[in-house]
């Protein structure tokens, strides 16, 4: 059974006329890694808020359809119970620091204190997620005195420690420098290899190609394409709609027009796929 099940979800923010999500249906199986791509304003963050229960509990507005996590519809639960099922990490590392805690260790404990986890259990879980996210040596530092990449890993640890069934990541690296982004992606990769269920909005196509089992292309609030990373990310028709595709895809597309890409071979997304494809063409020629 799908862990996450969205059926015909349409949502309009308060005081606006046009829906931001239009008839979105999506099933995610346990352990699956689903990436969501789309141009600005496609409704990607709204989708994340809907999964994590912020719609309709935090942002009111008009929601139709059902959003079920582990078979529970969002309307049958409260926000604070929903976040235990679907944990949300978003873009800005700085504003995810609660400001209520003086050390990283305490910061990670915040969610556990709020939801009534006993102290012994807290210490066990915090130790575990700090190792997983590679921040054990930061335990006694102030969460404000960290780099962006470190702060984002603290934010990730603070959500993971609550052991949500689904991890929802809304462009977790978009405000980080390349080194910080790589640190965060390394953690996400490890999580995915452990069989976590992850829904990640991300622009960096090459990372998506490396992680995702399935890619959803969202545009104007609708799912316009869905499939394996290679199928979706190499769909050049998306480039015209404001999707950022990888330079390898675009280069191979140009090559294809000139007859320089092997016929019938899907366009590449990563460097390795491009090298393989052009290599085969070279072999034939």
């Amino acid at each position: 059974m799908a862990v996450l099940n969205l059926r015909n979800v349409t949502y309009t923010y308060p005081l606006t006329d046009a829906p931001v999500l239009k008839n979105v249906s999506l099933q995610v199986e346990e352990g699956e890694f689903v990436a969501v791509i789309g141009p600005n304003g496609a409704g990607k963050s709204t989708l994340c808020y809907a999964i994590a229960g912020f719609i309709p509990h935090f942002y009111k507005g008009e929601l139709t359809g059902t959003v079920e996590v582990e078979g529970v519809d969002v309307r049958q639960t409260t926000l604070s119970e929903r976040v235990l099922q679907a944990g949300l990490v978003f873009q800005n590392p700085f504003s995810q620091i609660t400001g209520a805690k003086y050390t990283v260790y305490e910061e990670i404990a915040f969610g556990l204190e709020n939801t009534g986890v006993p102290p012994d259990e807290m210490h066990r879980r915090i130790g575990q997620v700090m190792r997983l996210t590679g921040i054990t040596d930061l335990a006694e530092r102030s969460p404000y005195a960290l780099s962006g990449g470190q702060q984002q890993r603290v934010a990730l640890a603070s959500i993971l420690v609550m052991e949500p069934k689904i991890l929802v990541l809304d462009e977790p690296t978009s405000q980080l420098d390349p080194i910080g982004a790589r640190e965060v992606f390394a953690v996400i990769k490890a999580l995915s290899e452990q069989g976590r269920t992850v829904v990640m909005v991300e622009h960096k196509v090459e990372w998506v190609a490396a992680f995702a089992d399935r890619v959803i292309a969202l545009d104007g609030g609708e799912i316009v394409l869905e499939g394996t990373p290679r199928q979706v990310l190499s769909a050049v028709e998306l480039a015209g709609r404001g999707f950022g595709l990888s330079r390898y895809t675009l280069a191979a597309h140009e090559a294809e027009k000139q007859g320089l890409w092997p016929r019938g071979e899907p366009l590449p997304v990563t460097l390795a796929e491009a090298v393989a494809g052009f290599g085969r063409r070279g072999g034939k020629a």
Binding site: G87, L88, T98, E113, A155
Partner: protein
């Protein structure tokens, strides 16, 4: 600069081990005694005979003295001078300075006020030096203080240095575009205007994100909250609090009877 955001100095003294609520009660008892005791010498006696030894007991004597000297003494000295010069109604004139006169009565009233203020502020400093803010808040939330209230207090304490840093960044950005912030006074005041917009509106936008972040951590959960730090509340703590409470009652009672 961002590493230390509170006055708190970690030690393992008897005072540090007291329950935060006991220390809150102690602080307020000292203040009430200083202000409402009918005896004239109570406040100076508390400052020298109680708060000072307590700071030694709490192993924070040196930071206590330095905070008292830097923060309290200048303000207290100023109040003392002003009150001795301007309090009217004295009979026994000691010094006459043009229109102003220092009288025995104004000196004695000034001494009373300043020693009371000194006792109050130094009691607070001692409290802040020996009590970790998050321990205080965990203990108070355990005693049913609303979590939202505790959150507002703690995050405000933390947010001030953040705001300062952000204001500095905006200032630098405006200066890089040629804003004059260094000539005369009027110019400097004018230069503040382009700072206010980004700082205030930027902070408001951040409030929404911060709200999402804390809700994502189950902030509004109705489950009984727990605390990472187990803050002991011993029979000794409870005994001390009863004694302090009795002292407060005695102070008010003596005030009522003797007046």
């Amino acid at each position: 600069m961002h590493e230390r955001l509170s006055f708190y100095i970690p030690r393992s003294s008897t005072l540090h081990q007291l329950n935060p609520l006991t220390k809150v009660t102690l602080t307020f008892t000292l203040i009430i005694l200083a202000f409402f005791s009918p005896w004239y010498w109570t406040a100076p006696l508390l400052a020298v005979g109680v708060i000072l030894p307590l700071s030694a007991l709490g192993q924070v004597l040196r930071p206590y003295l330095s905070a008292a000297a830097r923060l309290v003494l200048p303000a207290v000295a100023f109040i003392f001078v002003m009150q001795s010069l301007f309090l009217p109604g004295g009979q026994t004139v000691l010094v006459r300075l043009w229109l102003l006169e220092v009288t025995v009565e104004s000196l004695s009233a000034a001494f009373l006020t300043t020693t009371r203020i000194f006792a109050m502020v130094s009691a607070f400093i001692l409290f802040l030096l020996t009590t970790h803010p998050s321990h205080l808040m965990s203990d108070l939330t355990r005693r049913k203080l609303p979590a939202a209230f505790a959150y507002v207090i703690i995050s405000t304490l933390q947010i001030i240095p953040q705001m300062q840093a952000k204001a500095q960044t905006i200032m630098d950005a405006q200066r890089a575009r040629g804003l004059d912030t260094e000539s005369g006074f009027i110019r400097r005041v004018q230069a503040l205007t382009p700072l206010v917009g980004p700082l205030v509106f930027g902070s408001l936008v951040e409030v929404e994100e911060r709200a999402i972040a804390i809700e994502a951590r189950g902030f509004s959960s109705t489950r009984p909250k727990t605390s990472l730090h187990e803050i002991p509340d011993t029979p000794r703590d409870r005994a001390i609090r009863w004694v302090l409470l009795a002292l407060i009652v005695l102070t008010f009672a003596s005030k009522l009877w003797l007046s």
